[in-house]
């Protein structure tokens, strides 16, 4: 089923990190955290060798899905992360996930075949967090075993790895900041870790 009815009233919707927003401090903070809350997250499965599937998705998103491992494509507010050879994470505008899911299913159906796909709304199960600042590099070193040096983690690259003792899908942005996808049930742990690890740099929640 789809979930397109989103009531934006704050007492109805609570993002995974909503109760940490009050934790602002440190004017010249070395780490800045921004929760890009309530974005639409869709998990998409399909066969990239199937030209009809790829064309159908491209017609909805306005861009081709990335097929190069660990890459991303970003157009007009749509972001597609490559997760595995037949799996992508689509991040769309807040509340748009229901329509995008319906459009994807329709576009694939319109191709006439019986393409094997899956579209799953996971918007509520995870959240998108942006981390930036002068302390970011060391913060990431403390938090993940992945080598986040520019030479190994350039802009646009998508990595599925560990963040402390939880998992994350992270993407380097052009401005040097990092987008992290964090599972909702681990978000309190994530924040506790983040607050602790960034203490020496100062943490600001934007």
């Amino acid at each position: 089923m789809t979930n397109s009815t989103h009531n934006a009233a704050t007492d109805v919707m609570e993002s995974p990190l909503h109760h940490h927003v009050a934790h602002t401090n440190a004017v010249d903070a070395g780490v800045v955290m921004t929760e890009d809350k309530f974005r639409g997250h869709l998990n998409l499965r399909g066969n990239p060798q199937d030209a009809d599937f790829m064309a159908a998705v491209a017609s909805v998103l306005g861009m081709a899905l990335p097929t190069e491992p660990n890459t991303s494509v970003r157009v007009n507010g749509f972001v597609a992360y490559w997760l595995c050879p037949n799996e992508w994470l689509l991040i769309v505008a807040s509340g748009a996930q229901g329509q995008v899911e319906a459009d994807l299913r329709q576009a694939v159906a319109d191709k006439g075949g019986n393409q094997h796909i899956a579209v799953t709304d996971v918007s509520s199960g995870q959240t998108l967090v942006n981390l930036s600042g002068s302390g970011l590099a060391q913060l990431l070193q403390k938090s993940t075993v992945y080598d986040c040096h520019e030479s190994n983690f350039p802009a646009g690259k998508v990595v599925q790895t560990t963040f402390a003792k939880t998992g994350t899908t992270m993407c380097k942005l052009e401005d040097g900041s990092v987008d992290l996808v964090i599972r909702r049930s681990f978000s309190d742990y994530f924040f506790l870790w983040l607050a602790d690890a960034s203490e020496e740099y100062g943490l600001r929640i934007a």
Binding site: N7, V12, E14, S15, T120, S123, S124, G125, E200
Partner: protein, 999 residues
């Protein structure tokens, strides 16, 4: 007190920054740049501790990581640090230090008399031999031994400091910033590649800092400063002083401990005290240097007997001469440098005693020219003194150094500097499994072949000349980054005469009768002890190590091992190469547990997973239970309630009106694809082909062995779309299981799985009034018993939110589950609480859920099953389809004789004969309580609760042939002597016909 041994000029200390510190309660002065050891020596402190076994007075032997004696107790209260080596402790103003042992003090130690009297009765292996019998007395012996021996003490209070860890990656990791490490890092750094260089000391330079040679015409220490500055200026080079690479693991993974505030004060004012660097390097360059060896002679452990190279280091780097009248005992030319250094410092060189008969090297000539007395072909056979060396007995040796050729004479002195040759620091190379190789020409072990991307440079290879170290560093650095370099350093004339391989200097008496000749100072292992071990039949060096304790302790035999191996070899009539060496393991020097733990402590030890409704549970006083990593409400006590009272109230609310449970933690897997049904047919025991959209079904999942692995309800959302639920703890394992079978065995099935556990928040509310609650919030679904039956699924709007509504029950009551996207889960919960208020809706936790389901005989996979139970064992044969066209996982195993036999344990209900009794879970079940031990164990109790609605205890348990024993009485003997009787019955205690959930 004055610094009696401090030189007026020279050294790398800052005399403008005096520092006050205390040792064993007395206050002393030192300078910035001192180590605790150099400051103690500057103040003429001789005794720094007492030995482990014999309680002998011990002084400082070395100047670095090799130090076996000067273990300190630092700081006080909760900041106490046990066992750092004074040679590695940087002095700061106000430092409080003390010996780790000695009673009542290290200076005057009563235990020494025990050691002296008992010494001859405490041979090697003494503890093993004496205290192991009778075994029951060991605990008593141990207390005495621990008090008498041992080193520093930890505070019992929590550590006030924090520690953290960081991951680092580089192209080239250089271990050691002595001459070889510096040139290696410079060469690698110039390539632009990512370089990390670590050194344990506060300053880079290693031996360059205490060396009077020149490098390309520049004073060695100045050259080191310039090289360090060049490295610091390279943005691609990370320069880390005070950082010890303590472990070298597979795939060039190096762990290094950075001491961040230990040199500033007892407790870190801000930030972590120590940081563990987990470094992954493409290339590793080991430039770990070499450690000088002491020589083994009588009473060679007296305070005032030191390594010659250490004496030179104290003079040149710290401007401290640790004695006035010095005898130098050497087997090679390097001892002469120390003689020259002592003389230059204005103190007396009594004599250089050289075991060689005709030394004629450059330094020997210099010493002769300087008028220093040289006794060739002699050895120090015994030191004299009690609390400090007062004399050295010197006797002539034959050319091999094996036999005395004449009488001894005594040289009066207060310092004996010993130069017994060098041992390359092979420790790190050993960590990766490379066995050191004995190299006869340098009389030392060097690193063996390595399978790592590892390079060696400098003294670790057994080449001790400064220019060679610098040049080898260049070559290693160039090789590590794949370039060529031809730079050659000039350090002037470095020629040396040949060294003699000598380890144990003979005494006039045989080893067993001579004064104690120490090999391993920290563990009080003597030459006699090692000989005894050989006599008692220990031939493997690894066995000798464990029998004598040689090479144990915080210094891991850095000074003593080679001497010990040589003595073993001689006793066994083998060569050292044949005897071999023990293997060094991490850590090179001790590492705090704090650093190994890092920040993974307290709330960060293990992630706590929370549901969207967690804030509500917290605000409403829930007690929590850990289910996997989830924090689930366990029960919701009200003021003044006992836990049982709470459970009774919660259970009755469900049976009589309505209760609500947060079921969000159940694993949820979204399954899409045209072969989804077939896939379910194969992984579940029951049939899924005919499950219509809008319907749910309970399923049992087995492993290949036919044993229950997980269970749950799966709903058919549409013809090619299903939602599977799993147990809270089993979600990840089930998803992995599905992917495993799909990817490896049935890739032809068109089906995709996606975890949606976190996506959906689940409010489960149960009880006769549950429909009324839902009807208040949901108007677009016909919720009547006729329209929405038990095990039906509908999509609808609840409290204005699009929701998935399931009519399923784990309580046996009329029950609904409302799933909404988790962003709205907290809101939905609150709306249901509001709507249920008029019915007294009662939140309940996992414990009441357990009681309610046990009243209905519903199993919990993992509690009532343990991986050895089939569906038939659980009397759930009804959930197994025998008509599926394709087999299902586990089916074949049903026909195994063991799985098919009739007398397997089966899960049955147990009704206590005494209705007030609740049988403890885990109780063993027997048929005859009077049977003599060993009794026939028939099974055990898996679940047991007080049922308030039934008014008696209920239990489930496994019993052999249980289904054939209905009505029989079984017995549960308890540890306290009670025997609890129960009657075997159906596990469905409540509403056996299922009227309630079908309402």
């Amino acid at each position: 007190m004055s610094q009696v041994n401090r030189l007026a000029t020279g050294g790398r200390i800052d005399r403008s920054k005096p520092m006050s510190f205390s040792f064993n309660g007395k206050t002393f002065q030192g300078f910035d740049g001192d180590t605790l050891a150099s400051a103690l020596l500057a103040n003429g402190v001789g005794i720094v501790g007492r030995s482990f076994k014999y309680s002998r007075a011990r002084g400082i032997l070395g100047h670095g990581a090799e130090e076996p004696n000067a273990l300190m107790q630092l700081h006080t209260g909760n900041a106490a640090v046990p066992n750092p080596r004074a040679t590695q402790v940087e002095l700061f103003d106000g430092l409080v230090s003390g010996s780790t042992n000695g009673w009542p003090s290290a200076e005057f130690d009563l235990m020494e008399w025990v050691g002296k009297i008992g010494g001859k009765f405490m041979p090697v292996g003494f503890y093993y031999k004496t205290f192991m019998a009778p075994q029951k007395m060991w605990m008593t012996y141990e207390k005495f031994i621990r008090k008498a021996a041992g080193f520093g003490k930890l505070s019992l209070e929590p550590d006030p400091d924090t520690y953290d860890k960081i991951n680092a990656h580089c192209d080239v990791m250089v271990v050691g910033a002595g001459p070889a490490g510096l040139t290696a890092a410079l060469e690698a750094g110039r390539s632009g590649k990512r370089v990390i260089i670590v050194d344990e000391q506060n300053e880079f330079g290693g031996t360059l800092l205490a060396n009077n040679q020149t490098v390309d015409g520049v004073d060695a220490a100045t050259w080191a400063e310039q090289a360090t500055a060049q490295l610091e200026a390279m943005s691609n080079v990370l320069v880390m002083p005070r950082t010890t690479a303590f472990g070298y693991y597979d795939h060039n993974f190096v762990c290094a401990l950075e001491s961040r505030t230990d040199h500033i004060g007892p407790v870190s004012a801000s930030g972590s005290r120590q940081r563990l660097h987990r470094i992954r390097a493409h290339q590793v360059i080991l430039a770990t240097g070499a450690i000088e060896r002491p020589l083994v002679f009588g009473n060679n452990d007296l305070p005032g007997i030191m390594l010659a190279n250490s004496v030179s280091t104290y003079i040149n780097r710290y401007a401290v001469v640790p004695g006035n009248r010095c005898v130098i005992m050497t087997t090679n030319d390097s001892g002469y440098q120390t003689a020259l250094d002592i003389q230059a410092a204005g103190r007396t060189v009594v004599a250089v005693v050289d075991s060689r008969h005709a030394p004629d090297g450059r330094l020997v000539q210099q010493a002769k020219a300087a008028g220093i007395e040289i006794m060739t072909g002699h050895g120090v056979i015994e030191a004299q003194g009690s609390k400090r060396v007062t004399g050295a007995i010197v006797a002539p040796l034959d050319a091999a150094g094996d036999t005395l050729t004449g009488p001894g004479k005594t040289l009066s002195c207060d310092l004996v500097a010993v130069a017994g040759g060098w041992s390359p620091v092979v420790h790190l190379s050993c960590h990766t499994g490379s066995r050191p190789v004995w190299q006869e020409d340098i009389a030392g072990f060097v690193p063996g072949p390595s399978i790592q991307n590892q390079h060696l440079a400098g003294a670790v290879t057994g080449d001790y000349k400064l220019s060679q170290a610098l040049n080898a560093g260049v070559q290693a650095g160039a090789a590590a980054v794949g370039v060529e370099s031809s730079h050659v350093f000039d350090c002037g004339d470095e020629s040396e005469g040949a060294a003699q391989a000598l380890y144990l200097i003979p005494h006039t008496k045989p080893i067993s009768r001579a004064p104690k000749q120490f090999v391993d100072f920290q563990n009080d292992v003597t030459a006699a002890g090692i000989e005894l071990a050989a006599r008692e039949g220990f031939q493997s060096i690894e066995h000798v190590k464990r029998y004598t304790a040689m090479g144990f302790g915080t210094d891991q035999g850095k000074t003593g091992n080679v001497n010990g191996m040589a003595i073993v070899a001689k006793a066994l009539n083998k060569s050292i190469a044949q005897t071999g060496t023990t293997i060094f393991r991490p850590a090179y020097t001790p590492v705090t547990f704090g650093a190994l733990g890092g920040r993974d402590v307290g709330v960060l030890l293990d992630p706590a997973r929370h549901t969207a409704m967690h804030p509500w549970h917290l605000a409403n006083g829930a007690e929590f239970e850990n289910v996997g990593q989830w924090k689930r409400p366990w029960y919701f006590p009200q003021q003044g309630e006992t836990m049982q009272q709470t459970l009774n109230r919660e259970c009755l609310a469900v049976r009589n009106s309505v209760g609500i449970l947060d079921a969000s933690t159940l694993g949820k897997i979204d399954i899409q694809g045209k072969d989804a049904r077939e896939f379910l047919n194969r992984v579940y025991t029951n049939a899924w082909s005919k499950l219509a959209p809008g319907k749910c079904r309970y399923g049992l999942m087995l492993k290949e062995d036919g044993m229950i692995f997980d269970d749950g309800v799966t709903a058919c959302l549409s013809d090619q779309h299903f939602l599977m639920t799993t147990t809270s703890g089993g979600a990840a394992a089930v998803l992995g299981w599905l992917e495993l079978w799909h990817q490896t065995e049935w890739p032809e099935l068109e089906v995709y799985f996606t975890s949606v556990t976190d996506q959906w928040a689940t409010c489960s509310f149960a009880g006769p009034n549950s429909r009324k609650v839902l009807e208040k919030l949901c108007t677009d679904v016909d919720l009547s018993a006729e329209a929405m039956k038990f095990m039906d699924y509908r999509e609808g709007t609840v409290a204005g939110i699009k929701a998935r509504i399931f009519r399923i029950s784990f309580t046996g009551e009329l029950s609904f589950e409302v799933n909404v996207p988790a962003d709205q889960g907290h809101y939905m919960w609150k709306k249901l609480m509001e709507a249920g208020e008029e019915f007294g809706i009662t939140p309940y936790g996992t414990e009441s859920m357990h009681v309610l389901r046990a009243e209905k005989g519903f199993i919990i996979a993992g509690q009532d099953t343990d991986g050895s139970m089939t569906p038939q064992d659980c009397l759930m044969g009804w959930a197994v389809s025998k008509t599926k066209s394709f087999s299902f996982l586990g089916e074949r195993s049903f026909t195994r004789p063991d799985t098919a036999r009739a007398d397997r344990k089966q899960l049955v209900g147990l009704k206590p004969i005494d209705p007030t009794v609740v049988i403890p879970e885990g109780s063993q079940i027997v048929m005859d309580p009077n049977q003599p031990i060993p009794m026939d164990m028939m099974g055990h109790v898996t679940s047991s609760y007080w049922s308030e609605c039934l008014g008696h205890g209920i239990a489930m348990g496994t019993v052999k042939s249980g289904s054939d024993r209905m009505g029989q009485t079984v017995y549960c003997p308890q540890a306290d002597g009670r025997v609890l009787a129960a009657q075997i019955c159906s596990p469905v205690f409540y509403d056996p016909k299922g009227d309630h959930h079908n309402d």
